[in-house]
């Protein structure tokens, strides 16, 4: 296809006319050129209706040429991957693109839901608050939910790759219009590292859409020269088609980078986080529409957008146009259309007086100018057919004649330009309505930010360039050390949109609706209603009418809403206040924000030193506190339960090998090491002899148990603290915090060594025998190496630290070797241990073994409410001399109460029934069912052949042998409360 549409002009536009791109729109095959946006291509092909509105499903056409677009939000599919709500005005045309309209049925040209438009009188703002109460909201909700929602969830395989990037720079310039370009240029000339970010694919901003010369030269040549110098500078980073959407504290900004979204190898989106010393916002301005009856018809377009399509894309918005305005600026649209050969039926100007030059220009072209007139109503369904023009009173509130209908297919509207202050506001900048400029202007900001160009109401090209240049110089030279002081936006370059007179709304004829928010279908009468019901505060108005809450965030409706509100309340706009703009300035893809950090990239899975061995030996790896650990090792034909039981039996009857490397290890060394640990542990530390190991509890200051483990005395000034695996980092930090912040005078050094040492634990009667097979300088004999002691030496030539401690109740040694030697030692132990029937043990069996012993598992058997008295450590605390973390809290009456939930064991009485952790112990027989505690650990004990459990029970210590009712998911079983020690209570096995 060579033709790219009936509305494409013979020449003009910055397109590659030699390259045609074909695409489909709602099934129709169309074509455009390289350089087109989806919107310009649709217009070129004479497509008038592109979407349906949110609430009334009215036909809507392309309204703007930029990110403010409220109508043309389409579903775009590029090689199989569909994305909803794409702004046609921002999406470059891509070969083979499949485009469909959303939120309409059966088609965008005929939408059944249009019925809501005819019932609009019943659907004023907040109608749902007044109705749907009977019988209940649920009766109507699902139907209403189906009507709501603009797009539909993307389908098809999504090949988009997302990446996060970071950037630091001295000066960040947002927006590459003429103001931003000159700011970046001057800043880089002054030697600063500059980053220039532009949301458009091309640099130049509005200047790309105008033929107005700059500084006596064509805007193109001016831009070309500046961009040339910027590209040449190694100081300058330029990001195109990158949208700065978030402005956070300390001058941190975020941006969505779509420059490679049509990358040949598949779409790529980047999320940039930019930290800038100084920020210059050159974010431009957004033209605002006029309000009149049926101002939402296809064919009605912002005047500046009409020029944009004309000059940048060589597209005529229509064949016969009317220009409606309250300022001189829009006259350019009339002139440019006329000069391009498009008929201009009339210029309808709300003002009494028009600047001489433009009037002269108009006369020269023979264009009809109707002063003190407004478009008051329009006709047409899928395309605009005519507009009703009336003479109006000078204040704009009354009609002065019966008007005439002027036929046209395009209506270009303008009520002046409004600065894009969203990012400025996000930065904490205050904005205010300026009556003389008739727009919202930046006021002052606490962050290191400057705002220039149209964004600062500097609408004249030369003043925008001048103020941009000055800001660039100042930013580059501003002293870095200085404290950001609230910085006022400079006002000396400000110039109003030429001769604007803020008549924004035509007098209302009959009850015809005047649209304020096109996307959410909010009309002027909705705002009047809100005011009538006293939702007159800006925040209330916004929420009650939902004006400005649609996906365009009110970029073309907020100001008009304010002016209607001021009209009905009689307060001037300045007094109404504005709503604070929040991130995001434009919607940002979730995937980009996350940088595709899914699966293992979401949270690092940590691997143990002998990981490979476990993987190659059928280990079932589960996540335990971030570590990938074997839950059990499956043998042929086994399921988990069978494997776990087998592993438990192996330890009790023979020998088990278990990797416990994640076990936290912290060395404490120094003159005051013991004194320090004595203040940390509930237990007595100072009395521990070298070579000895002791079990200890750590509390927080509120007396709650936070961790347990053993600590060993290597030498009088050298201790080794073991923490639970899940708490390794936390406790290391905890100790450091107490040392640095509370007791810096204590002379000691803390050194976490968790990852240096792998821990392989042997458990079982023949553990000693196996170790004695190894050449070693450690005497493993029972006499020389008793339970709860520590030895350092070599095993099979390897440096090793051995603690004789037991989590299983069996004779057990924890062998620590340098992590890189763990796998070898593991294999050696497996080989030499074969004769003893050694078996690798997973964590689940390990936990059952400790359950059989009734050993505490902090985090399972305790929660954030458990104190050591509940666990029966009262006597030990009484013996302890001196303060320790949390001790004072234990002295409160509430902490000493014997009615607290205390640590006990449970045995199921009901034969054949199980016991699960998470079940509750309830008062029974129940006068009123009440929980007295809960089962914290439970499982089947292969050794004892029945279900056992541990739990926390009110006054439990005094209730041994009592029979209780255990409740789980409505079922109950009887259980007996016992001391928490089911197997080998005297500890012969582990002490032997």
């Amino acid at each position: 296809m060579s033709s790219s549409g009936a509305y494409r002009l013979a020449q003009g536009g910055q397109l590659d006319r030699s390259r045609s791109l074909s695409f489909t729109f709602n099934g129709r095959l169309l074509s455009g050129h390289a350089g087109d946006t989806l919107a310009s291509a649709l217009l070129a092909n004479g497509i008038s209706v592109v979407a349906r509105s949110f609430k009334y499903h009215r036909p809507r056409g392309i309204f703007s040429a930029g990110f403010e677009e409220p109508n043309a939000l389409l579903r775009v599919e590029i090689n199989g991957a569909a994305v909803p709500l794409v702004r046609a005005t921002m999406q470059p045309l891509v070969e083979g693109m499949v485009v469909t309209s959303e939120n309409c049925f059966p088609s965008v040209d005929f939408d059944l839901a249009r019925i809501f438009d005819h019932a609009h009188a019943l659907l004023p703002a907040g109608f749902y608050n007044k109705t749907f109460k009977w019988p209940g909201w649920h009766t109507y909700e699902s139907a209403i939910r189906r009507m709501a929602g603009l797009g539909t969830l993307p389908t098809g395989e999504d090949k988009t790759a997302f990446f996060r990037h970071n950037l630091r720079c001295d000066v960040l310039v947002v927006g590459a219009g003429i103001a931003g370009l000159s700011a970046a240029l001057e800043a880089s000339r002054a030697g600063a590292r500059v980053t220039l970010i532009e949301q458009d694919a091309e640099l130049g901003g509005r200047a790309l859409c105008e033929r107005t010369p700059i500084d006596g030269r064509s805007s193109q040549s001016w831009i070309g020269e500046v961009v040339g110098e910027l590209k040449a500078s190694s100081q300058v980073t330029i990001l195109r088609r990158t949208l700065v959407a978030g402005y956070y504290d300390h001058n941190v900004l975020t941006a969505l980078d779509l420059s490679d979204n049509e990358h040949p190898t598949g779409p790529v989106q980047r999320f940039w986080t930019i930290r800038a010393t100084e920020v210059i916002l050159a974010t431009g301005a957004i033209e605002q529409p006029l309000m009149f009856a049926h101002n939402d018809r296809p064919g009605i377009m912002l005047a500046g957008a009409v020029r944009a399509y004309l000059h940048r894309y060589g597209v005529a918005a229509g064949r016969r146009a009317v220009v409606a305005t309250n300022n001189d600026d829009a006259y350019r649209t009339a002139f440019d259309l006329h000069d391009a050969g498009v008929e201009v039926a009339a210029i309808v100007d709300a003002r009494e007086r028009v600047t001489a030059e433009v009037e002269e220009e108009a006369k020269r072209r023979g264009l009809k100018v109707l002063r003190s007139s407004m478009v008051v109503d329009t006709r047409g369904t899928t395309t605009l057919r005519a507009v009703a023009v009336h003479a109006i009173s000078s204040d704009g509130f009354r009609l002065r004649d019966n008007g005439v209908w002027i036929s046209c297919d395009t209506l270009a509207v303008s009520s002046g330009w409004n600065p894009t202050v969203h990012l400025y506001s996000q930065a904490g900048g205050r904005v205010r309505y300026d009556t003389s400029l008739a727009c919202i202007v930046p006021d002052s900001c606490r962050q290191r930010v400057r705002i220039v160009g149209a964004a600062n109401a500097e609408f004249a090209a030369l003043s925008a360039i001048a103020s941009g240049a000055r800001a660039g110089r100042e930013a580059a030279c501003s002293p870095r050390e200085s404290q950001p002081v609230p910085r006022g936006a400079s006002s000396e370059y400000r110039t109003a949109t030429n001769g604007i007179q803020p008549i924004r709304r035509a007098p209302q004829t009959r009850s015809a609706r005047q649209w304020v928010d096109l996307l959410h279908d909010v009309t002027a009468s909705d705002i009047e209603l809100a005011a009538r019901e006293n939702y007159a505060a800006v925040e209330h108005l916004k929420r009650y009418t939902t004006n400005g809450m649609a996906v365009d965030q009110g970029k073309t409706s907020n100001l008009n809403a304010l002016s209607v509100l001021s009209e009905v309340t009689g307060r001037d706009i300045g007094a109404l206040g504005t709503t604070t703009y929040r991130p995001q300035f434009m919607p940002v893809t979730f995937g980009a924000i996350s940088g595709d950090a899914r699966g293992d990239l979401y949270a690092p899975p940590r691997h143990m030193p002998a990981h490979q061995w476990h993987v190659t030996h059928a280990a079932q790896l589960d996540d335990y506190g971030g570590w990938k650990r074997p839950a059990c090792y499956l043998r042929a034909g086994e399921n988990r339960d069978v494997a776990i039981n087998r592993e438990v039996k192996a330890v009790r009857s023979a020998l088990g090998l278990f990797e416990g490397s994640p076990l936290g290890k912290i060395e404490v060394r120094g003159r005051d090491a013991a004194r320090f640990l004595h203040r940390i542990y509930l237990n007595n530390v100072t009395s521990l002899q070298p070579g000895k190991v002791r079990y200890g509890l750590m509390l927080n200051e509120n007396g709650i148990v936070i961790d347990d483990g053993v600590f060993a005395c290597l030498s009088p000034e050298h201790y080794l603290v073991s923490t639970t695996s899940g708490n390794a980092e936390r406790i290391a930090g905890w100790l450091d915090e107490w040392h640095q912040c509370e007791w810096p005078e204590l002379d000691l050094v803390l050194m976490p060594v968790t990852s240096q040492w792998a821990v392989l634990t042997l458990a079982g009667a023949s553990a000693r025998a196996l170790l004695q097979q190894f050449p070693s300088d450690i005497d493993f004999s029972a006499a020389a190496f008793p339970h709860m002691s520590f030895r350092e030496g070599r095993i099979g030539g390897r440096r090793a630290r051995v603690q004789r401690v037991s989590f299983t109740g069996e004779l057990s040694y924890e062998i620590s070797v340098p992590a890189d030697e763990a796998e070898e030692l593991w294999q050696e132990l497996m080989q030499r241990g074969a004769q003893f029937g050694i078996t690798p043990i997973g964590l689940e069996a390990w936990l059952i073994l400790r359950l059989e012993k009734g050993f505490l598992h902090v985090g399972s058997d305790t929660d954030g409410t458990t104190n050591p008295l509940d666990l029966g450590f009262g006597p030990m605390i009484q013996k302890k001399v001196g303060d320790f973390v949390g001790r004072r809290s234990l002295m409160r009456a509430h902490d000493q109460a014997t009615s607290r939930r205390q640590f006990v064991g449970l045995e199921v009485l009901t034969t054949g029934s199980s016991l699960v952790a998470g079940a509750h112990i309830i008062t029974s027989p129940a006068p009123m069912k009440r929980s007295e505690g809960f089962v914290t650990s439970a499982g089947f004990s292969p050794t004892l052949g029945r279900f056992i459990g541990l739990g926390l029970l009110e006054g439990g210590h005094a209730r041994i042998d009592e029979t209780v009712t255990v409740f789980d998911e409505g079922r109950t079983v009887q259980a007996r409360i016992v001391k928490p020690a089911f197997f080998d209570p005297s500890g012969e096995r582990m002490n032997g």
Partner: protein, 170 residues
């Protein structure tokens, strides 16, 4: 070429010792030739990286960890300090090439021009030693190797790292 940008399991035989002193000893430490903030210092067969005002990482491809620890013991005799072998606990990856800073900046927004940086990179703690303009040694906890490898692979798929010029030249 991006695929050579990152190499894992580098310098696996390198001896690594972590030294920490009491805060009272800091001046002593610097007097004994240990590097100051964000610096690395090579003296003889040992390179010392600054980890914090009271911490250093001592590296050597020739001296054993025991030897390095012994050196500390003599240097700091009588002074509050502790030196431990972390050779097995720390792994090393090299990031080397003109794209190295781009790749590294994807993992953390910090000034990569310093000689020695201890930071949060790709959400995990690393120590980066910049020994030439764009060559870095990254030291990280051995348990995180697989994670970091995956992270690097993902990041290296960005055309920014594979294409020589991907921006202004449209």
């Amino acid at each position: 070429m991006a695929k050579h940008l990152v190499e894992f399991d580098a310098h696996s035989r390198r001896a690594k010792v972590r030294l920490r002193t009491g805060m009272s000893v800091i001046q002593e430490a610097t007097r004994r030739g240990l590097p100051g903030p964000l610096e690395a210092k090579t003296t003889g067969e040992m390179t010392a990286l600054w980890l914090g005002p009271d911490q250093w990482l001592l590296l050597s491809d020739h001296l054993s960890a025991e030897k390095l620890i012994a050196m500390c013991a003599t240097e700091f005799a009588g002074l509050s300090h502790h030196a431990v072998d972390v050779s097995a606990g720390l792994s090393c990856a090299t990031v080397d090439g003109e794209r190295a800073p781009t790749l590294l900046s994807m993992g953390a927004s910090i000034d990569w021009s310093a000689q020695c940086i201890r930071a949060r990179f790709a959400a995990v703690p690393v120590v980066a030693h910049r020994h030439a303009n764009t060559s870095f040694d990254l030291y990280y906890d051995r348990s995180l190797r697989e994670y970091l490898r995956q992270w690097m692979c993902h990041s290296l798929r960005d055309p920014l790292l594979t294409e020589t010029s991907c921006r202004s030249s449209r």
